[in-house]
Symmetry: C2
Subunit: 432 residues, 2 copies
């Protein structure tokens, strides 16, 4: 039932002892870098400053900007000859962020991913197909190494080419696949187009979905379309990649591996901890990274801790699905809006498909929000029914986002398709 | 100097003893499959039939067709739960060929690749950038695991996006890169275009080139363009991938790791062994594969054994660069022609670039060969000189391929560019 029972069901007090020990080790490693050496010494902090896990709050935050300013290797805490891999972001908006790994870092990472997959029932008898891009994208090598570690038969399909993906699924008896949510939906659509019933003609039973924000409604739809259980995966390249937090079979939040990370949720304005259950920014400290430890890294991801124990018996706390990022948020007429809020409403309508696009534009002197959404196959083209549906969606959206968007129902297949991360928001305003 | 001295400089007699021992083990594993069980029993063969290495000739051949007919898992000799990865060809001309690997197979493979890289001077202080596609293409994960095993800092750039590749090379201090030859040339061109001098502005010193047939002239040009040593790599997915044979620093043939493979060169018609030094088809038997051993696999690659010892001290025999494949060969007016023969001639002309295209078409009742080749940057546009050059190329080509092609010099950049494998031959004949 557990991949590493002694770690996964460790008592909270033992876990905290382990965290304190590892945090001290991490500080001793990090302090080898000029960056951490400087900011820790300025505050007169060292490993000795840590007596309890709460003491982590004494430590300074690390941000994406810090990574960029120290590009490429300024935060590496070991001799470069111990570094065996780096992953770099594309750096479209400045210097890329680069994360360096020692052999031990890669081992620990593979172990975390194996632990996640085992948690949702993947075993050495399973066939695991990875539809992630490989190379720099950590969803590729991250899941590859983790699934191999577990002993599953890995199918490194890589991204794109849906017909080939489906041939692999049917021919190799794929039981588990990793896909971003929009691509999982796409695969289901292509299967239907070519006359393959995912429930009868494939052995798919488990899907790992992540890397793209999505709602529980979207997850349920994927589960129905493909006849699978779909589990939410959380990771980010700064925290190595996938394997940071993962749902268990109860699908009620993602266990964050607290032997590897210190978990904090802070108010993004005040940077003070929020109450358990309150939404805030996820802040993570690595506890088992040699080459490039990060202390109190501000992930910019918004989530909350789900209070209380989980029936699965794991003692590592759960975070809620990601509620959005500061970066995703757009402000219209002074209102903060997350694409997730809109998606959540759209998914409640069985008449709608899964593809939608939000466009914000200046019309006259006003900012307007246009929500285009595809109809599902099944829905009528009766004009009055369409009008009524539009009205009903608009009403519900207004309740959620507190302003009235323009809603446009479009034919299935008329919005741009994505084989990569879906583009959900276009901001065309000149005053943004 | 050697990654595994005891194996790389093993005496021939010790090596043959090891081969016999491993061949027996391999037969005992292979016979677990219905395919090998049937064809070995038909000939009354078993591990006991092998007393010396010459006895390998008693064994039946395995062909690509056999792999296809037993698609996908018919040649797997172990419980599928021991299989941790498969690599599949794209299968554009029939069932794909699928190769399955156990954890031990992947370990052995990574070790072979590490051995190759170490042989040409790559160490744990080097930065190794892999421009291969990842996923199913074995040049991706094959070099990734091998270079990590060696302890180099791997940069899993994956294929394409030349500007980003060059940014990685300069920013991360890449010293060694793996690229197919046409892409190495392309990278050099783009560097020049954006004002980067590969010799001054990068730390590149070693290039690993393979996966695409090329001449020694093309290699020398790559070495001059990038200011590197370029080493020829031979591998194929049926033999796991890269790491089968590799040049040492003497660049006089590729040491084939005979502790892992039995090397035969046979006449493709009679299937009898050819004399040492004679060109024939390379036939390989795996000696350290658990999940899917292959016995006397006909690679379709044409090469020869380079006789005599190598000054590097390694005792594993050397094969010559691949001379072409039966599949690449085209027949015009009864003459067998390999694209390599044409490339070899073109590369002798400093006035020419590296990009060329061979088109065979029916004109009237005749098959004609058109060779289009790009001029280099430096060359004049003086018409009489161009005419003279065309004549000279035509003459040399006729000497080599025994018929007179039509030669057309074209401007640099006018032939299709490739970021993947270059397409060198177009056969448009209706009677082919």
């Amino acid at each position: 039932m557990y991949y590493q029972p002694e770690i996964e069901t460790i008592t909270r007090s033992e876990l905290e002892k382990l965290q304190v020990k590892r945090l001290k080790e991490t500080i001793n490693i990090a302090i080898q870098t000029p960056f951490y050496s400087k900011i820790l010494k300025e505050k007169n902090l060292s490993a000795d400053s840590i007596c309890s896990i709460e003491d982590v709050r004494k430590l300074p935050f690390t941000t994406k900007e810090d990574l960029r300013n120290n590009y490429p290797f300024g935060l590496v805490a070991t001799d470069m000859k111990n570094v065996v891999r780096l992953h770099s972001s594309s750096g479209t908006t400045g210097n890329p962020t680069v994360i360096c790994h020692s052999q031990k870092d890669l081992d620990n990472w593979a172990n975390r991913v194996a632990r996640c997959l085992y948690m949702v029932g993947v075993r050495d008898t399973d066939v695991f197909q990875n539809t992630s891009g490989y190379g720099m994208f950590t969803g590729g090598l991250g899941f590859q190494y983790g699934a191999e570690r577990l002993g599953a038969l890995t199918v490194p399909a890589a991204a794109g080419n849906s017909l080939r993906q489906i041939k692999f699924i049917t021919d190799f008896g794929t039981t588990t696949a990793h896909a971003i949510p929009s691509y999982a939906t796409r695969l289901a659509e292509v299967m239907t187009e070519i006359g393959i019933d995912p429930k009868k003609d494939t052995k798919l039973k488990t899907l790992v979905i992540g890397a793209e924000p999505h709602t529980d409604e979207q997850r349920k739809r994927i589960e129905e379309l493909l006849g699978v259980k779909a589990y939410n995966s959380f990771g980010m390249s700064e925290m190595s990649g996938p394997g940071v937090a993962f749902e268990c079979i109860y699908q009620n939040g993602l266990h964050l591996w607290e032997d590897c990370f210190i978990l904090e949720i802070v108010d993004p304005e005040t940077l003070e901890p929020v109450e358990d259950g309150e939404i805030g920014e996820l802040v993570l400290t690595t506890l088992d990274r040699d080459a490039m430890p990060l202390i109190r890294y501000r992930t910019r991801d918004l989530t909350r801790i789900i209070p209380g124990p989980c029936p699965c018996g794991r003692t590592h706390r759960r975070i809620d699905r990601i509620k959005g990022r500061s970066d995703d948020m757009f402000i219209v007429k002074g209102v903060n809006i997350f694409p997730m809020q809109i998606e959540k409403i759209l998914m409640q309508f069985k008449e709608l498909g899964t593809n939608y696009l939000i466009t914000i534009d200046t019309v006259g002197n006003n900012d307007e929000v246009l929500v285009e959404v595809e109809l599902s196959d099944l829905f009528t083209d009766d004009y009055s029914k369409l009008q009524q549906l539009t009205k009903s969606i608009t009403h519900k959206l207004k309740d959620e986002i507190l302003l009235t968007p323009k809603v446009k129902l479009v034919d299935k297949g008329s919005l741009p398709l994505s084989e990569g991360k879906a583009i959900r928001v276009k901001d065309l305003r000149n005053n943004k």
